[in-house]
């Protein structure tokens, strides 16, 4: 964008929230089709985002915390009992056969079936880790993953995960027999690492799976799992 471009004035005001509603709407329409303006806004954004960091830093009053969390707990208690929905395991019509797994860009099967106990005392919460490695039939990959079980839930720790196409996420599922339940979604960091939450209950579950899904996740797996961590 030319330095003399008068739109820079409006873009700056827009970034600071100081453009009147009418001109702001007109500018948004323009920005949608103008890469140079979008780039300029992207460049400015860190300066705007740092402004709140410049104010004197205070501690939020404990009374606010107590009030907010009381309402949150009350809301959660009202909705408790709504059980997570279980879906028939079908992977978007794919059966989990080796031939299909070969067609996937990557397939992993967890090898450390039994896992190992890290420690069971301290917090009193059982804590164990199941390791994973690529199988021989899969495309040779360097992905490393492990499921850390903490009590009746877990954290899936992955490393060297393949980067995702735009508008995609990895989705984590808990498998129980031939049914699956959504657990969480994640996007790996630039270095391929990620920690994904696997909320329980995991007791009685047979495996934790990871599939590639459209952004926002799917209500049922639509692709062959890239990763499987057996729990029993």
């Amino acid at each position: 964008m030319n330095e003399a471009d008068p739109r820079r004035d409006d873009l700056t005001a827009y970034a600071l929230g100081a453009l009147e509603p009418g001109p702001a709407a007109d500018l948004e329409e323009h920005i949608a089709g103008c890469g140079a303006c979008r780039e300029y806004l992207r460049w400015l954004r860190p300066a705007v985002e740092l402004l709140p960091a410049s104010v004197e830093q205070l501690r939020a009053p404990p009374a606010v915390r107590k009030a907010v969390l009381a309402e949150v707990r009350a809301d959660a208690a009202r909705t408790a009992g709504a059980r997570p929905r279980l879906r028939q395991l079908s992977f978007g019509g794919f059966a989990l056969r080796p031939a299909m797994a070969l067609g996937a860009t990557l397939a992993l099967v967890v090898a450390g079936v039994g896992g190992y106990l890290l420690h069971g005392s301290g917090s009193g919460i059982p804590h164990s880790v199941v390791g994973a490695r690529p199988t021989a039939v899969a495309s040779p990959g360097t992905v490393r993953a492990s499921l850390e079980r903490v009590g009746d839930s877990g954290i899936l720790v992955v490393d060297r995960m393949p980067p995702l196409p735009r508008r995609s996420v990895y989705e984590v599922w808990v498998q129980r027999g031939d049914m699956v339940r959504r657990a969480s979604t994640f996007v790996p960091n630039k270095d391929g690492t990620a920690n994904a939450a696997v909320p329980g209950p995991l007791d009685g579950a047979s495996a934790v799976l990871v599939t590639k899904e459209p952004r926002g996740g799917s209500i049922a797996p639509s692709t062959v799992p890239l990763l499987r961590a057996p729990l029993n």
Partner: protein, 204 residues
Amino acid sequence: MASKLSRAALDRLGDEELMILVDRKDPDAFERFYDRHSGAAFSLAHRIVGDRVLAQDVIQEAFLSVWRSRVPYDSARGSVRSWTLGIIRNRSIDALRRGASPTRKLDLDDDAVLEGRPAAEMTDSEAIRREMAGRVRGVLGELPREQSQVIALAYFGGFSQSEIAEMLGAPLGTIKGRMRLGLEKLRAALAESMGVESVIEALP
């Protein structure tokens, strides 16, 4: 959904991973989210509305709106911290416009109001926030006064360009120019003197 992740496990999750659980109405995950960002949120609200009680109302309503929202956090709209503070800013400005506050702060020279209320015992996170605030203020202080003033009036005061022009008795074109020059200088100075990317990543 009741959380089944332990406290230690939740602490290990990054902000974006935590928000997935918050979007799924996990109260324990929300508690972590609140604890990570409420200090910065309260500080910003207090700076904008200039009133401790009103700032409390603002953050209480804002955090509950996040909890009750059906619109999930979207990482394309910035970091969780920036997204949260954007909500806080908008609600603070709304509170000002409703006339809910007897005072309205107009410039960057009013930090003395806050100096009397330091956190009694700072946590590591609070200490980092304070150090960062000092560094960013240092960069802001390098700007010509008339430029930092219009930026503060816009961002912290919630005034439009036209309102600022009228308030300062200056032509609209002059205000526009000051705003742009100031923010461009700030962006360049941050990148040069602090390494802006690392600063943003360091925000606790």
